[in-house]
């Protein structure tokens, strides 16, 4: 029985080791969103240059929607762009775009004109007003909004064929049923 005391330091070491083993393997970029199961934050975005209509919180009610943060400066947005075009072409789910932090107000519209516009409506967010309200940490990020206008999921990084098939599209269908 007394001998067990000598094992105590080893036990403490193992506990600390366990904490570090898990903690140091977490990806610091995977930050949980505070907005899951919360109502979409209040925002009202101006249209981008050359367009007549931006969008606001009210536009997201009554149907399942995706809100996609993008920017012409963002390389990963270019990666997911063709797939967003595919979603639009197939009419799978309406995507609303937040054009985030363009240096020049022409950049966003030019980017969309050249590569195609997958968005139902696009709002301009040069000062990160909406981005901060959504708790955005980088682009692209996509929020899945249910019929009531509540955020149900946040996807960080590009949407690809693979993650769309495996989890994102099933999620959209699940949200539609509710």
């Amino acid at each position: 029985m007394k001998r067990l005391v000598y094992l105590l330091p080893l036990c403490i070491f193992l506990i600390i080791f366990g904490y570090f083993a898990v903690g140091l393997n977490l990806n610091p970029r995977d930050m949980p969103s505070m907005l899951i199961d919360q109502e979409v934050p209040a925002f009202d975005l101006e249209p981008i240059k050359g367009s007549t209509r931006g969008f606001s919180k009210e536009d997201l009610k009554g149907k399942v929607t995706l809100v996609n943060i993008f920017g012409s400066w963002c390389g990963a947005c270019l990666v997911e762009h063709p797939f967003l075009m595919e979603i639009r072409a197939k009419g799978l789910v309406p995507i609303y775009g937040i054009d985030w932090r363009e240096k020049n107000p022409d950049d966003g519209p030019r980017w969309l004109a050249r590569r195609g516009d997958p968005y139902t409506l696009v709002g301009d967010d040069p000062k990160s007003k909406a981005a901060i309200a959504f708790g955005v940490t980088g682009a692209p990020e996509t929020f899945f909004v249910d019929k009531r206008g509540f955020i149900r999921y946040k996807h960080v990084g590009p949407i690809t064929q693979k993650n769309w098939q495996s989890s994102l599209w099933p999620l959209v269908q699940e949200l539609r049923k509710q």
Partner: protein
């Protein structure tokens, strides 16, 4: 004999100073280096805050600086938004200032940021259930260490007090006998 040829004194050379003296050029370079190194100390305190962001009201600006020092830049993660040059950090600084100007208290601004980004955005982790280990773990371990030391020394003291029991009568006689025998 005194004047035999000795190469070391034959060739006259100017006396070398014991300590190497820098040439003027080297000295200059050295002092420039020291001055620049000292400058880097100041540089770490220089602002990411751009002149256009600074509020006219010095009291509000001081509050804005204080509050934004406590927020983590979510892009660069190990800097506060007050230190970071990231675009998002800049927009957050502007937002903090707008909210303060609109009459928010420091706590209200902080609550807003936490409601968007979670406790993660605070550089100083708040005290709550999930951070008890973080805050009290080190104290607990130090406590355990002190306790262990205390027990260890107590035991050693007790055991040393027990050993010198003195000699038994028989042993004393033998010892005396031995000592006498030697004399």
């Amino acid at each position: 004999m005194k004047f035999t040829h000795s190469p070391s004194i034959a060739r006259w050379a100017p006396p070398r100073p014991a300590v190497m003296v820098f040439s003027n050029k080297k000295a200059k370079a050295f002092f420039t280096f020291v001055a620049l190194s000292l400058l880097t100390l100041c540089a770490s305190q220089s602002l990411a805050v751009e002149p256009g962001e600074v509020l006219n009201d010095p009291v509000l600006e001081a509050r804005a600086r204080e509050v934004s020092k406590g927020f983590r830049c979510v892009v660069c993660q190990n800097q506060s938004i007050d230190d970071s040059n990231a675009a998002l950090a800049r927009d957050m600084r502007v937002l903090v200032r707008e909210r303060l100007v609109a009459g928010d208290s420091n706590a209200e601004v902080s609550n807003y940021m936490v409601s968007r980004y979670g406790d993660y955005v605070l550089l100083k982790p708040p005290l709550n259930k999930s951070t008890y280990v973080l805050w009290f773990g080190p104290l607990l371990i130090i406590g355990l260490g002190i306790l262990t030391l205390f027990i260890f020394y107590r035991r050693r003291q007790n055991s040393t007090a027990v050993t010198p029991e003195g000699l038994s009568d028989e042993e004393r006689h033998r010892l005396e006998a031995l000592l006498k025998g030697e004399e």
